[in-house]
């Protein structure tokens, strides 16, 4: 059964049962995944995942249920289960209504039939090219792991307020983690690329770069801890922003006082060098789409403008609670492909840090004593309520007298992200990377505690 038909049938059935409102979200994903291990291809997968999630409202009581088998019998059961859950709940006085139809923006480069029709043989070839590239640039490569993934998705939403939408998308990604050995010394490097269209995707360059990093990561030295300037690679910036900053700008968390930014709209909360935007309409963006997870048009929302906090992000429910418009930030957060199984909550689309004009070389040339951190370990253990983090800069290089000097053996960096963003930003770089749904340049911070 096609996803849009499934949604229409679910809503119609719910209306027959006498609900006040109903929303059905159905998705279908086809993903082909070639896995690399050691110096060869470990396995080849193809996965088809899909299902339908139904939200019903009766007397301001909301219930949700889902099924991953879109037979009418199971769809009916999901609707009935959602209604029976709704009936067990107390009325939600904050409930207003499901969103109504609006015009959708034109968002480019979300779908490429070249990705959809890629044969697994071509993906296997790409994976082999990645392995060969990594081996060619560096004779000390001892092992690697990685993957090439091509995915196609189609999503449909129908609700009783008249929303009826369907869209499809593609994504192709490839990443390689390379291990180099020299005697007992081990160096590691990681790089990847992910794009929505085949033409923009490059699997060779990241393979080369991962291999080069892993080689440069040999010969690590112990360093002295203390306060120093740290330059964060876009991977490290994205890691901290998505684990700490992204939850902190959610309108629901702000309303519930679960973020340090609560009640601070209009205030200067970050360095004047920082402008951060949430943009679901970004052309070719990893998380770009015409509509969000409840059928509301995606938007471009300025979160921080030259250091000033401008907006939080909302889905329709939380926008109603605070009397604002939805920013098109309804998401269904879950493991890949199971989005039909969760209710929409609030989350970032693409988080974009506006670049400045300084190249990485220029950023580093001013630093006497510093640390260049490419990848971090443990950002997911940071505390978004307080913004505190204490992580390992595990692929990191010492900066001495304006140059990258040598890889470091062991270093941790710690701080409170909101404070760092306010008081410690030194330079924002010029070259942006799309690190999944965070699009950012390098950023350097002064006076950060490094523990060794």
């Amino acid at each position: 059964m096609r996803v849009l038909d499934a949604c229409k049938k679910a809503v119609k059935y719910a209306e027959q049962l006498g609900v006040d409102e109903c929303e059905a979200f159905a998705s279908y994903y086809k993903v082909t995944n070639i896995e690399i291990e050691k110096m060869h291809i470990k396995s080849a997968y193809t996965r088809s995942i899909g299902g339908i999630g139904v939200r019903v409202v009766k007397d301001r009581k909301v219930g949700f249920s889902y099924t991953n088998t879109v037979h009418m019998r199971n769809i009916k059961k999901a609707v009935e289960d959602a209604l029976s859950i709704a009936n067990t709940r107390k009325p939600d006085e904050r409930w207003r209504n499901l969103p109504s139809p609006e015009r959708y923006p034109v968002v480019r480069k979300l779908y490429d039939k070249g990705v959809k029709s890629l044969e697994s043989d071509r993906l296997v070839e790409m994976a082999l090219e990645m392995i060969d590239t990594a081996k060619d640039v560096n004779k000390k490569v001892a092992s690697m792991s990685g993957s090439v993934v091509a995915g196609y998705s189609v999503k449909a939403i129908v609700n009783s307020q008249g929303i009826e939408c369907i869209d499809r998308g593609t994504v192709i990604g490839g990443g390689l983690y390379v291990i180099s050995r020299d005697g007992g010394d081990v160096g590691v490097g990681y790089d990847f690329d992910v794009k929505r269209t085949l033409r923009e995707f490059d699997h060779i360059e990241p393979s080369k770069s991962a291999s080069e990093i892993s080689m440069k990561h040999l010969g690590k030295r112990k360093i002295e801890g203390g306060k120093m300037t740290i330059v964060l690679h876009p991977f490290a910036v994205a890691d901290l922003l998505s684990n700490i900053f992204a939850p902190e700008i959610q309108g629901d968390r702000a309303y519930k006082k679960q973020t340090p930014y609560a009640d601070r709209i209009g205030e200067k909360v970050a360095s004047g060098k920082l402008t951060i935007i949430d943009d679901g309409t970004y052309s070719g963006g990893y998380a770009s789409a015409k509509f969000d997870a409840e059928g509301v048009p995606t938007k471009r929302t300025v979160i921080i403008s030259r250091g000033r906090l401008m907006n939080f992000i909302y889905n329709s429910y939380w926008a109603n609670v605070v009397g604002k418009e939805s920013t098109g930030n309804a998401v269904r957060k879950t493991a890949l492909g199971n989005d039909y199984s969760v209710e929409p909550t609030v989350g970032i689309s693409n988080l974009i840090v506006k670049p400045s004009k300084y190249s990485l070389d220029e950023m580093i040339s001013d630093i006497k004593n510093g640390l260049y951190c490419i990848t971090l370990l443990g950002s997911h253990t940071a505390n978004p309520e307080t913004g505190t983090f204490s992580v390992v800069a595990y692929v990191a290089f010492k900066i001495e007298n304006g140059e990258i000097a040598y890889p470091v053996k062991q270093a941790m960096i710690a701080g409170k992200l909101p404070e760092l963003l306010l008081k410690n930003v030194d330079v924002v770089g010029s070259e942006v990377r799309m690190v999944y749904n965070v699009i950012t340049p390098h950023i350097s911070f002064r006076n950060v505690t490094v523990s060794c």
Binding site: N68, S120, V186, V188, K257, A335, T381, V392, K416
Partner: protein, 464 residues
């Protein structure tokens, strides 16, 4: 069902597979969340589907489908065989996969359940969640918010292999996490506690949710007084929940045989060597009655207690059938999959440090200046380098053998092989905690734990 599955596996062999297996699952899940007395989310649903796996000329091919009909399963096996063929053409001879031999098993595994999660009405679960939420909020006016998350899953998993194994296993797990958020002036602190188990709702009740809720609230308030932690190298006392994360992150991952055989583990080639101090013994045990246990893994291999380190000597790795064949050992049941959308890979079960004979007072009395770390929101490791990070949810300064100032969120880091040697005393208590571990995009339930342990020279990532 069995007959249909046999037909599909025979079909895969006819298509040219040397080995084929199929896993069929049907799992109902519920998720309820609450914040400040309001139920924010109540979801129930059912996921069902099948995973097909084939070996053709020593190369893997996989496929999965949510449609469990003879026709769809056959079609999926066709896709899997096609994928394996493509893969096989490019595979060098020495990398062709063999599976370690196992005895065929025919078994039905039931889970003892006193209070069935399916039979219990969702309204009863909702009132329970609102009750613990209220307990947290009533604790102190400083509690400004709560985050209560309840989840359960109930169902069945079936495995059938072309060699003749047929296993039907119950699935039944429930957990709750309770976060209290306290605020005073501009300071915010949060604290999370977790309870859960394999079985019915009784596993949550036995974990004493009301007192765990109170503990979350009182810790969140207490930590408002926390000061920034010092940074540098210190002697550390880790509590059972924290040392569990160490056992899991620092050693457990490095002992996963897929990483060992692909040159991605710091302990590869070190079996029989003294890699830790003599007081260190670490197990990964899938046979205890706890959250991370299974009787068989998802390849149909009976699980057992694996002795990773005994008195500091590396004894064995955690294996699935593929890695066991490469290492020439008997597989010990480490092949687990998150669900039917994923293939089994080498995973831990319940990983813990074995108790020693120190009392808490003996561990702490000689420390002039150190740090006491408790519980954890998790950690991460690079098993190839042995570099690890793990977070402490709660920490205190130790001064002259006494616990003094509470410290703000802090993490520890180290190198696995150095840190194992720096463990110099092990306490006599033992406690396990529930969690989920992510690897290759798959999250599976795991237990972690141990006694109180003293470690020298640990890097503490403080802010001053």
């Amino acid at each position: 069902m069995k007959e249909m599955l046999e037909k599909t596996v025979e079909y895969a062999l006819k298509l040219g597979a040397d080995y084929a297996d199929i896993r069929v699952e049907k799992v109902a899940t519920r998720e309820i969340t609450a914040c400040k007395g309001i139920i924010e989310k109540a979801v129930s649903g059912v996921d069902s589907g099948a995973a097909m796996r084939v070996l053709v000329n020593g190369a893997w091919g996989y496929a999965s489908t949510s449609s469990i009909t003879l026709e769809s399963l056959k079609e999926s096996f066709e896709r899997a065989v096609k994928m394996a063929r493509v893969n096989s053409e490019k595979l060098p001879e020495h990398e062709r996969i063999k599976l370690a031999d196992v005895k065929n098993v025919e078994d039905t595994v039931r889970i003892k359940v006193r209070k069935s999660l399916n039979a219990m009405d969702i309204s009863e679960k909702i009132s329970f969640i609102l009750e613990v939420d209220k307990v947290i909020r009533d604790h102190s006016p400083k509690i400004v918010s709560t985050d209560i998350r309840y989840g359960d899953m109930v169902g069945k998993k079936i495995l059938l292999t072309s060699e003749g194994t047929f296993i039907v296993m119950d699935v039944s797990r429930a957990y709750i996490s309770m976060t209290a958020i306290a605020k005073e002036g501009a300071r915010i602190q949060s604290y999370r506690t977790r309870i859960g188990g394999k079985g019915g709702f009784e596993k949550i009740e036995r974990g004493d949710p009301v007192s765990e809720a109170k503990r979350a609230a009182s810790k969140a308030v207490e930590m408002l007084k926390a000061k920034p932690a010092p940074s540098g190298r210190f002697t550390v006392i880790a509590d059972p929940l924290h040392i569990g994360v160490f056992a899991h992150e620092a050693l457990g991952h490095a002992c996963e045989a897929d990483l060992v055989t692909s040159g991605q583990s710091i302990v590869a080639g070190k079996l029989g060597e003294q890699i830790g101090s003599e007081v260190v013994t670490i197990y990964d045990d899938s046979t205890v009655d706890f959250w991370g246990s299974e009787k068989y893994d998802d390849e149909g291999v009976p699980t057992r207690k694996r002795v990773l380190i005994e008195n500091g000597i590396l004894k064995e790795y955690i294996t699935n059938r593929e890695s066991a064949a490469k290492l020439g050992v008997e597989p010990n049941g480490g092949g687990r999959a998150m669900n039917y959308n994923y293939a089994p890979i080498v995973r831990m079960s319940n990983t813990y440090v074995a108790p020693g004979d120190y009392s808490f007072e003996e561990l702490i009395e000689d420390i002039k200046y150190g740090i006491y770390v408790k519980d954890s929101r998790g950690g991460q490791v690079d098993p190839a380098m042995g570099t690890f990070q793990f977070n402490a949810q709660e920490a205190y300064l130790i001064e002259k053998g006494e616990i003094t100032t509470p410290l703000l969120d802090v993490s520890l880091s180290g190198l696995t092989l150095e840190t194992l040697k720096n463990i110099d005393a092990v306490g006599k208590d033992l406690k396990l905690s529930i969690g989920f571990c992510g690897k290759g995009g798959q999250y599976v339930p795991v237990g972690t734990g141990g006694p109180h342990v003293r470690i020298k020279e640990v890097v503490v990532g403080g802010m001053r």
